[in-house]
Amino acid sequence: MKRVSIDPITRIEGHLKIELDIDSDRVKSARSSGTLFRGLEEMLRGRDPRDAQRVTQRVCGVCPAAHAIASAQALDDAYGIRGEVPPNGRLERNLMLGGNFIHSHVLHFYHLSALDYLNPHDLEDLQLEDVKIRDLQSYLKSSDGAPFTPEYSGDYRLGNEISAALAGDYLDALEVRKKAHQMVSIFGGKMPHNMGTISGGATRRPDIDSITKFTSRLEEIKEFIEDRYLPGVIEVAKTYKDYFKIGKGVSNFLEYGGFYLKRFEGSHHNTSKGLEGGIAVEGESSVREVELDRITEAIEHSWYDAEARGHPTATRSVPAVDKEGGYSWVKAPRYKGKPHEVGPAARMKINYLKGNDLVERELGTAMEKAGIGIDQLNSVMGRHLCRAVECKCIVNMMEGWVEDLVPGDPSCARYEVPEEGKGVGLASAPRGTLGHWIKIENGQISNYQLVVPTTWNASPRDEQGTPGPMEQALMGEEIDDPDNPLEAARIVRSFDPCMACAVH
């Protein structure tokens, strides 16, 4: 038995350590450790509730728009104004979140993951017409190749031509994700950490200027996603077809759903959403409804004291650094006591099974091209594929949302801030499904809890000793060379871990 510690896992958000016990080239046991704690939930206690939608964005610089929306919805709920958000406010929230999704997914495939498959050395001797790649080639030749190299040695199979195309797209994608952020900023003022999402709606009434600036960027992005990103993922996936079987993990999937299509209708479940929620279980063709009171967080192996155990309406997050058995700052969220995978794979699967027309069509086409079935989505390549498909679906919906904006109409409801209240805000976030729970007493936040996508995926073991989804995805997999655990890095990165989010 050999113990391998991979720390830091780079090309993710934040601080993650992975420990593997490897026996006869296979992972016998895996441990996922979040290695940074900031304590933002404790920090929110006693503050003005309105500050939550600003502070909680600082949980994550990669997906702040998702936290902004979950937080604003938790406040809308606590203030009793969920049904009063005007159509413009709802649409602008969707558009900001959509822009954040595109930035995040494009960043993940190219700038965070591509170097797991693309070996920069494969570019060195290519004869190329493309000036852009020639720049990169000459840089690689005249320097030590940093920050692109050194890289793990292993099976890089793309070959020269696909590698060159992917490298070119890596550079172009830098501009695409930047434009996606610009779209968020048109209604959000700035990104990361927008100043546009607010309880009651959004701060800026749409006008002709914002609509034209948004539309033109969306067009450019759409072209890239349809012509390069989605086909590019399929190309890579075909070369690494075995990775549709590698890194499967758990067989339960969770999503609350997000992107409201109509005014709030009594409950999150009843409000029609661009991407729907539910619970899917491998092998079953029907999707069950999420019962929010069945969510709990376990902390047996997380560095928190006992108050952190339970449902997010009743817990605190007080650290316990010396806790015996603890090995992570991430808690272990469970639904009906079981670990669930969240993320684009879960979301696409749930929406496909629920008959979401757009997802059925796009995912169906993509699965056919990649030559896979619905049960292969929770795998290394399945996750990459679902992210690209989701991007295409969201862009498609965004076109409709921009069109529905009414220039000059209000974007924000007027309201009084109550002294007491409680609320929940649920959203789809790029890495999975997101929940914020707030309690307000005497005009102040008396408790605030977040259960974040990567908290689900990167969770440590629970009180039963059941490993989290990412840990399970690693277990049983082959590692060719323990000094170059490339396979493990590919599995971990396929979840797009966001550790500042997961711990907060």
Partner: protein, 287 residues
């Protein structure tokens, strides 16, 4: 990059952070991130980004080896995002076998200069907000406590707009380490942070004539909605964000004072006007 270009090695470390500063830098319009990685920053000079966890090829020990190699080879610029958690011997943040609190000191010791990107590394920022369970402090405070005298330059903002950082780095490369005269009393480059938001705010006229917004979305000066522009230095109004596309006050949202020491505690509640006490405290500082 030409072969004659002088390369300035850069190491980027991350502590108690959200990665927003790295993501913001990726939004840089000109120079683009591609230019920063592959091309010259100014004629004859380019950056050599050796270590940055968010983007680098290497993983685990392979990545940390690059860090040690760069450190031992020659002088480098150390960029830090994130505050330094010092509580419980620094165990709230670890990288490899060491705490971030030790790592940042060890690297800063050999660095030419430390550039703190973001309010967290500059002043403590969000993770240092009350009750600050992890005892997060700024990089400068950590270095001072450990007796390290490497010069530091702050580029605050939550996050900073990319040009604030790029300009600061370019200034260092062109003119060397900024002197006391180049920096304001909280360690920022005056040529970048020299303007009070309130002084170049397009709504300044509304303030003068007493036209105040009472609700989000109203026209007028946002000071009654909690705007901290009168107490905050940054080039937001002049440069805007995302190639001048927008910025918070243009977007009808009050400034939160994110470039100032004391963000977030001193600046919150974000949607409440400062009382006399806070405003006197801020004016004392601004002098």
């Amino acid at each position: 990059m030409t072969n004659k270009s002088k390369v300035h090695p850069v190491i980027w470390l991350q502590g108690a952070a959200c990665t927003g500063c790295a993501i913001s830098l990726m939004n840089s319009p000109y120079p683009k991130l591609k230019n920063l990685l592959l091309d010259e920053l100014v004629p004859g000079e380019s950056l050599g980004l050796k270590f940055m966890a968010t983007l680098m090829g290497g993983t685990g020990e392979l990545a940390l080896e690059v860090l040690e190699r760069t450190k031992s080879e020659k002088k480098f610029v150390l960029v830090v995002d994130g505050a330094v958690p010092t509580g419980e011997e620094g165990r709230f943040c670890t990288v490899g076998k060491e705490t971030f609190a030790d790592q940042v000191v060890r690297l800063a010791q050999s660095a030419l200069v430390v550039v703190n990107i973001g309010t967290c590394s500059s002043y403590g920022g969000i993770p240092s907000g009350h009750p600050n369970l992890t005892n997060c402090i700024s990089v400068s405070d950590q270095l001072e406590q450990r007796g390290i005298s490497t010069p530091t330059v702050n580029v605050p903002g939550c996050p900073p707009e990319p040009s604030w950082f790029v300009d600061t780095l370019a200034r260092i490369i062109i003119s060397g380490i900024p002197s006391g005269e180049d920096l304001d009393d909280v360690g920022r480059l005056k040529e970048v942070y020299g303007t009070l938001i309130h002084d170049s705010c397009p709504r300044r006229g509304d303030f003068t004539t007493g036209k105040y917004a009472r609700n989000i979305g109203d026209e007028g000066c946002l000071v009654e909605l909690g705007c901290k522009g009168p107490y905050t230095n940054s080039p937001c109004p002049d440069r805007g964000w995302h190639e001048g596309l927008n910025w918070p006050i243009k977007n009808n949202h009050p400034c939160m004072g994110c470039t100032e020491p004391g963000f977030p505690d001193l600046m919150s509640p974000f949607y409440e006007k400062f009382g006399m006490e806070e405003s006197e405290e801020m004016y004392r500082r601004l002098k």
